[in-house]
Symmetry: C2
Subunit: 337 residues, 2 copies
Amino acid sequence: MTETAADTWEQTRLLVSGPTLAALDRLDPPTRLACGYHLGFWDAQGRPDSATGKGVRPALALLSARAAGAPAEVGIPAAVACELVHNFSLLHDDLMDGDVERRHRPTVWSTFGESAAILGGDALLALANEIIAEAPGPTTPWAVRCLNATTRRLVAGQAADLQFESRTDVGLEECVEMAGDKTGALLACAASLGAVLADAPPALALGLADYGHHLGLAFQLVDDLLGIWGDPERTGKPLWSDLRSAKKSLPVVAALAGSGAAVERFRALYLSGEPLPEDRLEEAARLVEDAGGRAWAEQSADRESRAALDALAGLGLPEDVLRELTALTDTLSRRDF
Amino acid sequence: MTETAADTWEQTRLLVSGPTLAALDRLDPPTRLACGYHLGFWDAQGRPDSATGKGVRPALALLSARAAGAPAEVGIPAAVACELVHNFSLLHDDLMDGDVERRHRPTVWSTFGESAAILGGDALLALANEIIAEAPGPTTPWAVRCLNATTRRLVAGQAADLQFESRTDVGLEECVEMAGDKTGALLACAASLGAVLADAPPALALGLADYGHHLGLAFQLVDDLLGIWGDPERTGKPLWSDLRSAKKSLPVVAALAGSGAAVERFRALYLSGEPLPEDRLEEAARLVEDAGGRAWAEQSADRESRAALDALAGLGLPEDVLRELTALTDTLSRRDF
């Protein structure tokens, strides 16, 4: 991690942790316990923990306010709201996907039960809307609209992701669209929402959203790569869980879309309609690579990172903000965590 | 149903159906299908149906705008948003409660699957926030805050309701608080949100919220009574489903809180820790009545209806609005559906 990016994470944590914790205090005790556990502030018994996420979305939201020439503080409601929306979707996705582990800890549904996960997600979405609506200034209603249009895209992306699991004909284009909905939309929202609160000119807000969209695709490509070839110790997620649940992740769909002997072998293994046996997951991972899925995803991640930085080029950003956004982009597209 | 109240329902349907359908059109196709099915606009295959709910919350929201001297149309975003929030919570509650039937039709989770119910609820909550944020005028951010503070109370109420199922010591006071969260909060929100959008003086908005809170308690008391002694043909819900799942509904908790032989017999039957066998549900219903739970709930419903009307008394409402709110209150507290 570069020093600049490390500073960005640290600054973000300093500004955003307090308001996020204060927001949780508005919830009823059992829902607060489950939500704060999910966010990594405490363990399942409520004892202090420090297992919070990377904070990518809040970092983007604060930089977004600064990109519009405002102090980072102006972006705090956007930062908190985007992080809450992100965690609302994780809470519900973990339940729908049956994932038992996240950030090296058992997921909420597997610890507190399914109802607690549903209610916890609902509560985080409501809190996010409350927090963003409390931001002062004339653009607040517009910010609420951005946040909820984004939430609709998160829902659409997860609906597609689930539907893809049982389909054998998923195309690369619809898979990229799904990733745009699941990941690109909220990074685009975070990267522009601070600027919206700072009453930035539309061209700046849209340029920042474009940056966030490309960064989100790069981020998801790296995420999918780490899901197959990452170190579980670093990522905090069980290895091959996407392959185990027959997810149509980007490298997988790229592999299925190719041609040749490795592609045929991978199709026969992955599209059989049967759950993939535990002892063939390693073979499946190798076939994705042999079929070109890994190389395609790596090249695409590089291309999307460059497109993200290109989107920033003409926006006339303050020099320090451009430097931090560049460092953050580099860090996220080369991460192993 | 009185003629005045029938007019109110009809007017509400005319003004609110179109904008609600237009809101659904923003959703991805599978989520839109599940949500429109839940709202009663179409069947599970998307063929036209007319199984929509009573429309209590939208009716209140439109009357709320008129109470502030504005045209009903000013309240439309509040009406649509409250109805969407209501249905968001029904979708998720049906899944958490394992309820298989609502409004004479199979519930969404039992028709489209659990993930569709989770995503459908999420989508409706996001849509509600989008719609309310699109309302013009200076009070829009405040309206968003009201709506989401209400959503937090819905979550708290459902969390308490679920927790009560496994507890044997639920008190009447905490049970009334739970009903206030689950039902009172959203009726209070609906009854005031139209006035908020019409930029009403705070005293009027608060008075209307107070009315909605009492109406909500009366409504829930009647709902709980119908759940035990109602006609399933009229209510659209299976008889005794609350007793079957050991719900601590208001008449049940009132019965448990009493003393005497019938109370002891009911406690022994209902708090045994075992699921109530199908052939003892009728006996349980009779014991709730013998233990005084039915009479308490009926008297409380009457008292809350009167308190609701009392709350309207000093607000200086236009005469036609007062007449319609009074008719609506009477209809809801004497309904058998």
